[in-house]
Subunit: 280 residues, 2 copies
């Protein structure tokens, strides 16, 4: 993470936190940040015109992440949270080098939480094809503990299942069994939900993995990490007492986002606006 | 369909046919056009950096389709085939008004083929959420035959299932049963495969619908329609005897396209190139 080393002026602390994702999934991260830091305003960008990122190439994901971050900076945010595992996996270091505010991803917090949870050091992770291909989790887990073993599986059907509202039906459980069987055969004791959509599948996932496997929710661990990092950088909005708000922006039209947002967020946002992101 | 009314110079007939799709699915249409018109060169554009179109809004799909078509015209094509049901549903008339070459979609050919096949006039169609929402099939079927009834179902999981290679496994058959049950209860006798990915599911679809329901493959009916229309406009390349080639372009990186292309096309293409589409 990059960031200013001097103590920032009190005014910066009152600025909103920026969050972006390829679509609406990152609202699970926004929800947890809002729960953890209830006085912070959040500016959320969902790149719904180009969703998903998880099937695209590294260079394309990096380009989109740069454009997303640049938009958030026009909204005068004090920090940027990359609430998309694929963008965190491929673009985080580029973003950290390219912009003058702290940029926080979802991978490292998930890795840390998994290393805290695991007893056997046998950790599974599920995510998009691009996230798994990136090896970001493998590298993070091994950097944290040499002896840990990571078993990763790409699960391309889970995002469309969640978006169709099939969060716990028979077909979803069958698909989860199919995806998770190889990880369970490796006797993992911890499973990282490496995609923002997956927290909505927690009930079905719990049924499939049984009671003994710890589930690491990237959104929860990311929110705790954001609190720690902004605290360390003295960027937390400690004075305000009113509840923070969430200001959503999307790149496709707002209707579909608004229809689905409540399901991911659990409460209403401010009205969403459509933006065009200029190409870099 | 728009198009020049005077007889075009012989040189135009030797130009390639342009085809675009949101990704690789349109290769099923390219395959059928190549089979039907083996001496034609085809320039194929897959907008893989922004795939899929089927979950996006009408205005966004129209904007992308305009950019795709504009690119094909820079490649000096004599006609454009919109090998994407969603783009055909939302953008065809805008494209026909905006460009000086014939523009042919996949919806009307599928509608005609369904009306030829059906005995009872009870027709089902499956496609993306956007295609179904557009009502393009409903309007087309009713324009062709007042008394026909159309039953449409959005099937968002089928594209990711095909892209994962699950074209006939147990999970795919279960999902197909689930999607098709309401259509079969309406006693359809004809089912239009209203998405370019679905021809790869034909074997599984046949098992699920049984032997009595006719399956209309949009790609096949589109290829026949292209031959008729280009024949009518005297744009067929009738002189050449060498086999036509397929020249693919993609907006994301070429590797993933190349990996999957053979499966959709059944034979190798020329090497693919990456292009950036300037925004309109």
């Amino acid at each position: 993470m990059s960031g200013p080393s001097q103590i920032p002026p009190a005014k910066s602390r009152e600025l909103p936190i920026g969050i972006f994702d390829s679509g609406i999934g990152g609202l699970t991260v926004a929800r947890e940040i809002h729960r953890t830091l209830p006085h912070e305003d959040l500016v959320y960008l969902g790149d719904t015109a180009r969703v998903p990122y998880g099937t695209k190439s590294p260079n394309t994901v990096i380009r989109y992440a740069l454009e997303d971050t640049r938009f958030l900076l026009t909204q005068n945010v004090k920090a940027v949270v990359v609430a998309c595992n694929t963008a965190s996996a491929w673009a985080l270091s580029t973003l950290q080098r390219s912009f003058p505010v702290p940029v926080i991803g979802v991978i490292l917090p998930g890795v840390r939480a998994a290393l805290e949870q695991t007893r056997t050091g046998r950790i599974g992770v599920i995510g998009t094809a691009a996230t798994v291909r990136s090896q970001a989790y493998t590298l993070g887990i091994h950097a944290g503990r040499d002896s840990a073993q990571l078993f990763a599986r790409a699960c391309p059907l889970l995002v469309p299942l969640v978006e169709e509202g099939r969060v716990n039906d028979r077909i979803t459980r069958l698909i989860l069994k199919d995806y998770l069987a190889p990880l369970l055969r490796r006797r993992i004791d911890t499973l990282v939900l490496g995609c923002t959509h997956y927290p909505l599948l927690k009930t079905a996932l719990r049924e499939v993995v049984g009671p003994k496997v710890a589930l690491v929710d990237s959104a929860e661990s990311c929110a705790r990490f954001v609190r720690e990092e902004l605290g360390r950088l003295r960027l937390l909005n400690t004075r305000r007492r009113r509840a923070g708000k969430i200001f959503p922006y999307v790149t496709d039209e707002v209707e579909r986002f608004t229809e689905q947002a409540d399901r991911f967020l659990g409460f209403p946002t401010e009205p969403a606006f459509k933006v065009d992101l200029p190409a870099m």
